[in-house]
């Protein structure tokens, strides 16, 4: 009898014996067990214990009960009044949250009498992710220093390792209570509220969203100063994708009275959530009643009230609560302000807290507010939001234009006309533009007015300019400036860059005519060079590589001619060298590494010649180092890897040398970082790097990441620092062998990139994010976390589709796009989700055809097309469509065999896969 079988017998006998009268049990057991003494003893002992158990409390219950008591007592002892935490003594608990409590405390050494608030993580809550969150709160608070935000004073860990934060203790009451008990008037309430807006706006500028704004977190102290508290669930903007974000805060902490619809629905949170909550607080402050009335407190009822029900106008609410003297004042502007802040859709609210505060200030100053109930305002808002930019830039443009106009005064007739034009411009500026700017900070409308006025002015002048070369030159320069306004100051979008190109071309026509008639005027040539250069930049930006290269070629011709005439002009040399650098970059992006290498060689030559004259010029040395780096990148793409390495090592030495002289220079640090990045790239170059090179790649990327991290620490909200750090970590992850570590690094990298994307929409960031999503998909799939893997693949596909819409020739986006589609399609086919699989397969096929239709693809990129064919085949095979699968595999095999093997590149792997799949099908 096995152990398990014996136990079955014991169990059976135990229950049956209990039904037998006590006196007969021995005989019963003897008979039933067949005289097995061991079993009899076992059953007997259990029956004895059972008898004992029935008389007293169950042992298990008693043990649990006692453990609970111990638990409770020690928990309380840990936070009992009088306990010493660091240099502080706890006085009493004043608040309690999901992961810890807040205590009123004082300095333990009585050195001075200062009350502080201590936030202490509770025992048992000290899991890694809570500690990480606590650290983040500390980090966030440390970065915020504002008179209306409770300050972080200190922090540390208790003797038993629980972290705590020491914060300014705000002795006061909630903002609403303060207003009520002090019977504040409407204006006083608004001014109090403006201080709160100021604090929130400040936090947003530091990329922190509070997420839990409510009267309970806005205390007004004894001197009447409001203070913002509790950034416990605040987060860095755009730092999503992290599951630990919201789970840790207690459900009870969700404050439905002030929570925005997107928070209730569990949608992504942006600064707009704080705008909404501020609106809800303002509602209550003005009306002394809450914005929502919940008939029931079930989650469904709450969600319905917040997300569906129209909010009562504040004036109505005030009237209902009998605040007769107030409700009339709320009608109109204040109603509109509150309702605009509390719009259900985040995008339709005030664009920022700043806008909300501006409107309140406008109201207080009896000026028109921007909040309107009608849709015209809504459209205008959207327009402004899309094109937000600094006022200062606009003012500078106006100034530039005006100066240009004044300088153009030459002869009397023109001068008279100028005078009128200038006056007209000045009038427009004062009456139109200035007011626009005052009401709508950084609005595009204002800038459009300026550009429009400027163009009208230039066109009017151009009509009178025939034969007047000076004036023509002046107008040309004007168009150049307008082009700069259209093309570079405005957020670049297609409309603006097109307009800028029109202006640049007008400038070019005018200036070329001048140059033709005055060949000796070399400064006109220099301007022409600049215009070609800028046209090239704009085309490069909009990914029209051919057009960009044409423009650069023009610029180059002008530049070389000029250099021949003015060989001693160092500035000209440098600007022509810069031009070659831009050209090299564009050639590289157009996948023409040979031409890129030639351009860089010339750039280096020019820089070097200037460097001979001024060897101490560190900016020049840095420019030269980047030219060498560019040449190295081109060489790497030509598979001249060791030549490239020589250059990269030289760049490292040069950057290190320059850094020694100027250790705080972040640009130099970045150059060094990029050099390591290139070294790592060479040592991990796909298809050619030998496995033995990998440690060198790991080393280079580790160094790269260390510098990126340092730069990121120095400026946590700088776009470039964030994206650099994300990209460095991604590269490090690419060469990381350990899959958990790899996944963590990708996750962290993605976090930084998302933060960066929040600041600035950027194609590179988007590309790298898409790549990481796909890689995470691979990793998670390998681990069997299919659902999660598919989510990442889908995210990757979505991102790449956006990239490809803007840049159809982006081969790396194309490749990742197709790989992720294949993974999604195969998984859908395995799940027998027939339609879904077919959809992915068709999209994959379409993407491949798009790539195939492009001309002049490098061999490696051509192989992506056939890889995609293998993918289409594999999805088809899994869907049971063997004929299509066979056809696709066959085609892929044929085409891959036909591809010319490049130095360092072969499609062997792809071919092998296609052949294997094909043979499996047979």
């Amino acid at each position: 009898m096995t152990k398990a079988e014996r136990w079955k017998v014991v169990e059976d006998l135990f229950h049956r014996a209990l039904d037998v009268p006590e006196g007969e049990r021995n005989a019963f057991l003897e008979a039933e067990s067949g005289g097995d003494a061991e079993i009899i003893r076992e059953v007997q002992s259990l029956i004895d214990s059972d008898t004992a158990a029935s008389t007293a409390m169950s042992v298990a219950a008693a043990a649990v009960k006692k453990a609970l008591a111990t638990f409770h007592a020690t928990e309380n002892a840990a936070t009992a009044p009088g306990r010493i935490v660091g240099r502080y003594k706890l006085i009493r608990e004043i608040g309690r949250g999901g992961m810890g409590s807040v205590y009123l405390a004082t300095r333990a050494d009585d050195s001075y009498d200062q009350n502080v608030a201590i936030k202490l993580v509770r025992r048992g809550m000290d899991t890694d992710f809570i500690l990480a969150r606590f650290r983040r709160e500390r980090q966030i608070l440390a970065s915020l220093e504002h008179p209306n935000i409770a300050r972080l004073l200190d922090g540390g860990a208790t003797d038993d390792g629980l972290p705590y934060l020491v914060m300014e203790y705000v002795h006061g009451v909630t903002i609403t209570e303060y207003a009520r008990t002090n019977d504040l008037g409407l204006e006083q309430r608004l001014r109090l509220f403006l201080q709160v807006c100021d604090a929130v706006e400040y936090a947003h500028r530091n990329f922190v969203v509070h997420r839990d704004l409510k009267p309970g977190n806005i205390l007004v102290n004894e001197t009447g100063v409001p203070k913002l508290l509790d950034f416990g669930i605040s987060k860095l903007l755009s730092f999503d994708g992290n599951i630990t974000e919201t789970v840790t805060h207690d459900v009870r902490m969700l404050t439905p009275d002030y929570a925005s619809p997107e928070q209730i629905r569990g949608e992504p949170i942006t600064a707009a959530a704080d705008v909404y909550s501020l609106g809800a607080v303002l509602f209550e402050l003005l009306t002394e009643s809450k914005a929502h009335r919940f008939d029931k407190t079930t989650p469904q009822a709450v969600e319905h009230a917040i997300c569906e029900t129209q909010i009562t106008r504040p004036s109505e609410a005030a009237r209902e609560t009998g605040r007769q003297n107030v409700w009339r004042k709320l009608q109109g502007d204040l109603d509109n302000i509150v309702l605009l802040a509390m719009r259900k859709e985040p995008k339709r609210r005030y664009a920022s807290v700043h806008h909300l505060a501006s409107d309140i200030r406008a109201y207080l100053d009896f000026k028109p507010v921007s909040a309107r109930a009608d849709t015209v305002a809504y459209r205008a808002k959207k327009f402004v939001r899309r094109n937000w930019g600094p006022v200062a830039a606009v003012a500078a443009i106006i100034a530039t234009l005006l100066v240009g106009v004044w300088m153009a005064r030459r002869e009397a007739r023109i001068a008279r006309m100028h005078f009128n034009q200038v006056r007209q411009l000045a009038n427009t500026f004062v009456t139109g533009v200035h007011d626009e700017i005052r009401n709508l900070p950084g609005s595009t409308r204002a800038r459009n007015v300026i550009v429009k006025t400027g163009l009208e002015y230039l066109e009017a002048l151009a009509a009178n300019a025939h034969g007047d070369l000076d004036l023509q030159r002046e107008i040309g320069a004007g168009y150049l400036r307008i082009g700069d306004v259209q093309g570079s100051v405005l957020e670049a979008n297609l409309g603006n860059t097109k307009a800028a190109l029109v202006s640049y071309n007008k400038a070019l026509t005018l200036l070329e005519e001048v140059a033709q008639k005055r060949p000796e005027a070399l400064d006109v040539q220099t301007e022409i060079l600049q215009i070609h250069r800028r046209i090239g930049d704009i085309y490069g930006y909009t990914k029209s590589m051919d057009a960009a290269l044409r423009a650069y070629a023009h610029a180059r011709a002008v530049g070389e001619t000029l250099l021949a005439k003015k060989p001693g002009d160092a500035n000209l040399r440098r600007s022509v060298a810069d031009l070659y650098q831009a050209q090299s970059r564009t050639f590289r992006m157009a996948e023409n590494p040979e031409a890129a290498r030639d351009a860089s060689t010339r750039a280096i030559e020019l820089y070097r010649s200037v460097l001979k004259q001024s060897p101490e010029d560190t900016v020049l040395r840095r420019d030269m180092a980047s030219a060498m780096a560019a040449e190295g990148m081109a060489l790497m793409r030509m598979y001249k890897r060791e030549e490239a390495m020589t250059l990269f090592h030289e760049v490292v030495r040069e950057s290190e040398f320059l850094l020694q002289k100027d250790p705080q220079n972040n640009n130099l640090k970045r150059s060094l970082m990029l050099a390591y990045s290139h070294i790592g790239d060479v040592r991990s170059q796909p298809g050619v790097a030998a496995p033995s090179e990998l440690p060198e790649a790991v080393d280079a990327f580790t160094r790269m990441n260390a510098i990126a991290e340092e730069l990121h620490r120095a400026d946590r909200v700088d776009f470039r620092a964030l994206s650099d750090h994300g990209i460095a970590l991604m590269r490090l992850a690419n060469v990381t062998a350990d899959s958990s570590l790899k996944l963590n690094r990708y996750t962290e990298a993605l976090g930084y990139l998302k933060q960066a994307a929040q600041i600035n929409k950027d194609l590179m960031v988007e590309m790298n994010s898409a790549f990481i999503e796909a890689k995470m998909g691979d990793l998670l799939q390998a681990r069997g976390a299919k659902a999660e893997a598919m989510r990442h693949y889908a995210e990757s596909v979505a991102r790449n589709e956006r990239i490809l819409a803007a840049d159809p020739k982006n081969s790396s986006a194309r490749r990742t796009h197709m790989e992720a589609l294949r993974a999604l399609g195969e998984e859908a086919a395995r799940r027998h989700a027939v339609r879904e699989a077919a959809d992915y397969r068709d999209r994959l096929a379409k993407s491949a055809e798009e790539l195939r239709s492009q001309k002049g693809l490098p061999t490696q990129v051509q192989s992506y097309v056939w890889r995609a064919y293998v993918g289409v085949g594999s999805i088809s095979a899994l869907s049971g469509d063997k004929d299509v699968a066979r056809e696709r595999y066959q085609r892929a095999v044929t085409e891959l065999r036909r591809l010319e093997p490049l130095p360092g590149f072969s499609s062997r792997k792809e071919l092998l896969e296609a052949e294997t799949l094909l043979s499996e099908l047979r």
Binding site: W7, E11, F14, H15, S45, L46, I47, D48, S49, D50, A52, A53, S58, V59, A60, A61, A62, A63, V64, K65, K66, A67, L68, A69, T70, F71, H72, A73, T74, E75, A77, M99, R122, G124, M125, D128, F129, I130, G241, N242, I243, T244, E245, T246, V247, T248, D250, V251, Q263, G266, E267, P268, I269, P299, Q300, T747, G784, A785, A787, E795
Partner: protein, 194 residues
């Protein structure tokens, strides 16, 4: 991790359970603080009524936690049973870990002013020790896993006999019998240890 930031806490817990079911151990780590908080409230409430309460009834709290955290999103019995199972196991783990730390702190000469047994009014008999119970339960699980689970659900999770039955997919009568034998077994083991 999955991109669920910003979801409502209810949704989060549900997601966590789903993930845990799918074998994500990290999800367990995330669930712990939630359960820990419940446990704390439970201890407080329970101890307040300790003298009147005849039996241990943590059930109410787990139910409450369940209703608040999960029910709206996953009302099916399977998730409910699953949630109780997870909660019970976590409670056991937390209490045992806590007792272990507490005991080692005592041995390590940490300040210990409170005499727990006096406060609670229980005898200081050793068999009531939670660590011994935990060890015994582990030993029982080796012989008969389901009986150990019954004890865990009943005493740590505070489930009723009926709920335990549904949770384990057997009849209530079976649970009654299994519990009786399990308790007898535990009692015998713990008395021997004494």
């Amino acid at each position: 991790m999955s991109g669920t930031a910003g979801s409502s806490p209810q949704q989060e817990v549900t997601n966590l359970l789903v993930e845990w079911k799918q074998g994500n151990k990290a999800a367990m780590d995330l669930l712990t603080p939630l359960v820990y908080n419940e446990l704390r409230r439970l201890a407080e409430r329970y101890l307040r009524n300790e003298r009147s309460a005849a039996t241990l009834q943590p059930t109410a709290l787990v139910h409450e936690a369940y209703l608040r955290l999960v029910a709206q999103n996953m009302p099916d019995w399977e998730s409910r049973a699953h949630f109780f199972g997870v909660a019970a196991h976590l409670m056991r783990q937390i209490l045992v870990d806590h007792a272990r730390k507490h005991r080692s702190a005592k041995r390590g000469g940490g300040v210990e002013k409170l005499n727990i047994d006096e406060i609670v009014g229980l005898g200081a008999d050793k068999p009531n020790d939670i660590i011994a119970l935990d060890d015994a339960l582990n030993a029982l699980a080796e012989i008969d896993e389901r009986k150990a689970k019954v004890i865990e659900l009943r005493f740590f999770g505070g489930l009723s006999v009926e709920e335990t039955a549904v949770s384990l997919g057997v009849s209530a009568a079976t649970i009654g019998r299994e519990q009786r034998l399990a308790e007898a077994w535990l009692h015998r083991e713990l008395s021997n240890v004494g």
